[in-house]
């Protein structure tokens, strides 16, 4: 066994995870190189320090914060399990909105029943009548200017 192999096997030897043959080989190396035993002791000491070190604790407010987050999650879960994934309130708003849109569409799509179109038709009719009257008056005036006798004949 060379030094590199010795170093690679230190943890295995300390943790007793070698087979008998490897262990004997490792221990033989240690017996032949007592100066390296110190390295094994140092590693063992480092392990002991870590294994006996006190663990850090979470803060006093940790549990409360966690509980608050869980409660918030549960609240959201309850809200989302209303009607078709909506809360009851939002579902009512949505239904009313859809109803209003439907009514407005129905109102706009039927022009014959719409006051807007009726009013529009009336104004068009009135405009046509007044235009016809104007045309007749203009024709008479024109005939008077051109040939007064024609008017007299007519009368």
């Amino acid at each position: 066994m060379d030094y590199n192999k010795f170093e690679d096997r230190i943890s295995d030897w300390i943790e007793n995870s070698m087979d008998i043959k490897e262990r004997k080989e490792f221990e033989k190396y240690l017996a032949e190189n007592p100066e390296h035993k110190k390295k094994v002791d140092d590693v063992r000491n480092a392990m002991n320090v870590m294994q006996t070190a006190p663990s850090l604790k979470t803060s006093d407010s940790f549990d409360k914060k966690l509980q608050d987050r869980i409660n918030a999650l549960n609240d959201n879960k309850n809200v989302s399990s209303g009607i078709m994934g909506f809360s009851r309130q939002n579902f009512v708003y949505l239904t009313l909105s859809v109803f209003c849109i439907f009514m407005l569409s129905a109102y706009l799509i039927q022009p014959s029943q719409s006051n807007y179109f009726i009013a529009d038709e009336e104004s068009v009719t009135q405009e046509n009548i007044s235009e016809e009257e104007d045309t007749e008056i203009k024709d008479v005036e024109l005939l008077n200017d051109v040939n007064g006798s024609f008017v007299s004949d007519k009368d």
Binding site: E7, D8, R9, I10, S11, D12, K39, D42, V43, N45, A46, M47, N48, V49, M50, Q51, T52, A53, P54, S55, L56, K57, T58, S59, D60, F62, D63, K65, L66, R69, I70, L73
Partner: protein
């Protein structure tokens, strides 16, 4: 003593999957400090690490059904914690982990540190110095050593959590310990 203390982690998660909230609370109690000690190695402050632990425990709450009883619960929860920590690190665009300790060697926001130190650590090397040493060794060595010597997980579990072959894990842990021992030796001298 309550009956739930008799249950293994795996039994508790199965009970929680069936709707037993007490089982969840027991898992939180068992793992919150362990996860904090693990996640802290990625961050330089306790608050950030606690947030990651909270996210991990929330994920346990919301995704408990994802756990299949083929792996150890500890492997599963530490893997979630590691992934959350790495996600958080990416968010912060942090490329290097910093020390948990302040410049003058004082620990940041740790409860009852002095008392624990006196009662538990039978070593002349102060715990804060140990953490400084840990931060000085390469991160891939550090995480493997922390999972092995602080969290006392098996090589197989560590291999699954870090997604690295078991032989590499063994080598990293051994190298990490040797580097740590070297630093401690110099400190003592």
């Amino acid at each position: 003593m309550n009956d739930k203390f008799k249950y293994s982690d795996e039994k508790l998660i199965l009970r929680f999957q069936e709707g037993d909230i007490n089982a969840y609370n027991e898992l939180v109690k068992r793992y919150k400090d362990r996860l904090l000690n693990f996640v802290l190695r990625y961050f330089n402050n306790v608050e950030q690490a606690e947030d990651v632990v909270q996210d991990t425990l929330i994920k346990l709450y919301t995704h408990a059904s994802y756990y299949k009883n083929v792996a150890k619960f500890s492997t599963w929860i530490f893997t979630i914690a590691k992934n959350n920590a790495l996600t958080e690190l990416r968010k912060n665009k942090r490329k290097k982990t910093d020390s948990l300790w302040t410049e003058d060697g004082q620990i940041i926001d740790i409860n009852s540190k002095e008392e624990s130190l006196d009662s538990k650590v039978q070593n002349e090397i102060a715990i804060d110095q140990l953490n400084k040493f840990l931060d000085e060794i390469p991160e891939n060595f550090r995480m493997a050593v922390v999972l092995r010597d602080f969290q006392e997980l098996s090589y197989e579990e560590i291999s699954k959590i870090l997604e690295i072959p078991i032989g590499t894990i063994k080598s990293r842990i051994n190298r990490g310990r040797i580097q740590l021992a070297e630093k401690m030796k110099h400190f003592k001298e």
